[in-house]
């Protein structure tokens, strides 16, 4: 029997640099798959359907909610975001490891449903730095930036129930910390039960 895959949920307030860290981890660990979320938000420039998100209409999203297709979903800034339960279960059952990029409310729902996940929160070095990064993204109004900043501050309070926290002062360090968390979690005695039992049964 193939042992079940491991999944890591990464959350962060906007501007903490989560997407860059996740992309770099995936490039370093080709055996890890990215869980592509569904959203009703329109794609940003450079975002690719089926790769960054599955982009669907509000109506299609609501139908999927009604059908119980999402392990978690939220409405944020008038757009829906959600993770497909079927897609997640299939990947893990095949023994593949999975990286999920989910905001704290959704992550909490995942944690309530899956006891064996690994939950990582990416933090900005400081609130000033977070404000600067949000301004530099340059594709939103001052008002939208201010709203994001307030939401970020409230999201940061959720860090307390995450297993691991990464301060993103430096991208390389943050990536190597996330990679270390992944490698370490693969060495958890509980996850190696199949290999350990094989050794013990040879005695």
């Amino acid at each position: 029997m193939t042992p079940k895959g491991l999944f890591i949920v990464v959350s962060a307030p906007s501007g903490a640099g989560k997407s860059s860290i996740c992309q770099r981890l995936l490039a370093l660990c080709p055996e890890m798959q990215f869980s592509v979320s569904y959203t009703s938000r329109p794609p940003r420039p450079n975002e690719v359907d089926g790769q960054d998100y599955h982009f669907i209409s509000r109506e299609a999203f609501q139908t999927r909610i009604a059908q119980g297709e999402f392990v978690e979903w939220v409405e944020n800034f008038n757009h829906y975001y959600g993770t497909s339960l079927r897609q997640m279960n299939e990947t893990l059952a095949q023994g593949a490891d999975l990286l999920l990029d989910i905001e704290p409310r959704g992550a909490k729902t995942v944690k309530e449903n899956f006891k064996d996940g690994v939950f990582v929160f990416v933090l900005p070095p400081s609130l000033e730095e977070l404000g600067d990064r949000l301004k530099k993204r340059g594709h939103e109004s001052d008002e939208a930036i201010q709203t994001r900043f307030s939401q970020a501050a409230s999201e940061i309070k959720e860090v307390s129930w995450y297993d691991y926290s990464i301060f993103n002062d430096d991208l390389d360090t943050a990536v190597s910390q996330l990679r270390a968390i992944y490698l370490a979690e693969k060495c958890r005695t509980g996850r190696l039960a199949h290999k350990i039992n094989r050794l013990l049964s040879s005695m």
Copy 2:
């Protein structure tokens, strides 16, 4: 206030390659200190007093036991081995991280006394490989090797209560796994409370 250091206890049956892995980790992580145990066993060739062990007489060891100086001690093949509680507490209080090389019985006592330690068990790839490695060490009689092999087999059963397990098929991989465990454990949310509280209190 300096946050307390982290400690990692590494155990393994003789011949699993634990000493090489620990030495390589210490070379890679100069901020980590090695906990030098006390022993009444005579030094092997190349072993240095105060570096590999504090070598003391049986009588001196027994006096220290009576004085409650050891957080754990065992008698193994007629020699005592023990870890100084004072030395351990002082290092951790200074905020330094500590690597301890302790066999399973002693490690269990440490776990009962310190809730926040990290416990890692190094396993041989197979029992055949373990037998071969014990023979190759070449400084012991056939009978001693056989006794070590039987003890190793029984020690391996202790793996179940360790947090992490490392199969030492390949030294480089094993070292990078131990290093990942160290880095990951430094990112545990609970261990970063001082840094997280500073960020939260700036809101």
